[in-house]
Symmetry: C2
Amino acid sequence: MRIITVSREFGSGGRELGKRMADVLGVAYYDKEIIAKIAERVKMDEGYIERVLDRSYTAQYPYTFRRSFAMMPPIYHRQPNLFAEQAKIIRELAEKEDCVIVGRAADVLLWEKKPFNIFVYADMTAKLERCRERASEQEQLTDREMVQMAKRIDKDRASNYALIADHAWGDKRAYHLCVNTAGVKIPELVPLVAAYAQMWFDNRDQG
Amino acid sequence: MRIITVSREFGSGGRELGKRMADVLGVAYYDKEIIAKIAERVKMDEGYIERVLDRSYTAQYPYTFRRSFAMMPPIYHRQPNLFAEQAKIIRELAEKEDCVIVGRAADVLLWEKKPFNIFVYADMTAKLERCRERASEQEQLTDREMVQMAKRIDKDRASNYALIADHAWGDKRAYHLCVNTAGVKIPELVPLVAAYAQMWFDNRDQG
């Protein structure tokens, strides 16, 4: 099985890279699709699931609950463990077919399948610029607000990652290729990174 | 001017990658050549210069001398500053023609020329294996000794780098591409990384 995982800083263009690589390689692409699958399975709202999974772990529980953890009845046990559900779904998807998975610590969850792991990053100026190019509600944010948001999102990604990984999110040793997208057009990047991944898989499968 | 700098961990195959990229791109390649040029200029032995530049900074002075720095006459002033000489030569080379420069903190020395900066790394197992494939005096070393040597060399590279850089050696933010060579054959890597560098330069020169 040839699984490509793409971890990325907010605004680095990693999602676009992953999507386009999946197109070029003719394989499945998973990102938000995973949320939809969880929602279907646990019968909960997608928006809620996304908020829980994409923010840091403890956001799952109300503040007062966290404070007096030991004294409260374990209500949270009645909630499905969304992280566990997500892990299960990602493993099922990777069992089925070649694919590109963006985010969600798929590189760690799937390490036994020897995925090709990419980390996509850039300096803050380049990331801001890339965000501005996208048409979305982020348009109304000031630069300062956008920087704060980007930092918070990446911090959450790092904490979620830390729940299951024994190395830091973004530590280059965990990836096969780290791509700085400052000054780069994602569509031009795609065939090169796709060719790189295929070369890597060919070596893996020969060895 | 199109300058490619290759920083690399010992045993990662970075030097081979740099050399082959220079061949493929038809540009000059500089590594040990720089030592020879310094030797010529300062009229000192190449082996001595290499020992000074490739080990950490203070290795330049005998131990007792370092200990009583303030009380000794400044004999060391009579020695040419080899780091400064090296920096000067690297800048002169980069002025002359497109080239690939391996090591020597060329990415920092030449930042004004906007070089394309690559960092090449791998896990220790892969690096050991690569070292074993090379025929050299290292063949007589045990694995343990080789690991120690690799670590010491990289530590020296990091300290030399710290003399002039405001970020850590190997910090991915300082590079445009970080390549993990574990499970990769360098010759297969070359055309992809060369194409990547050219794409990056094209974007740089358009923008």
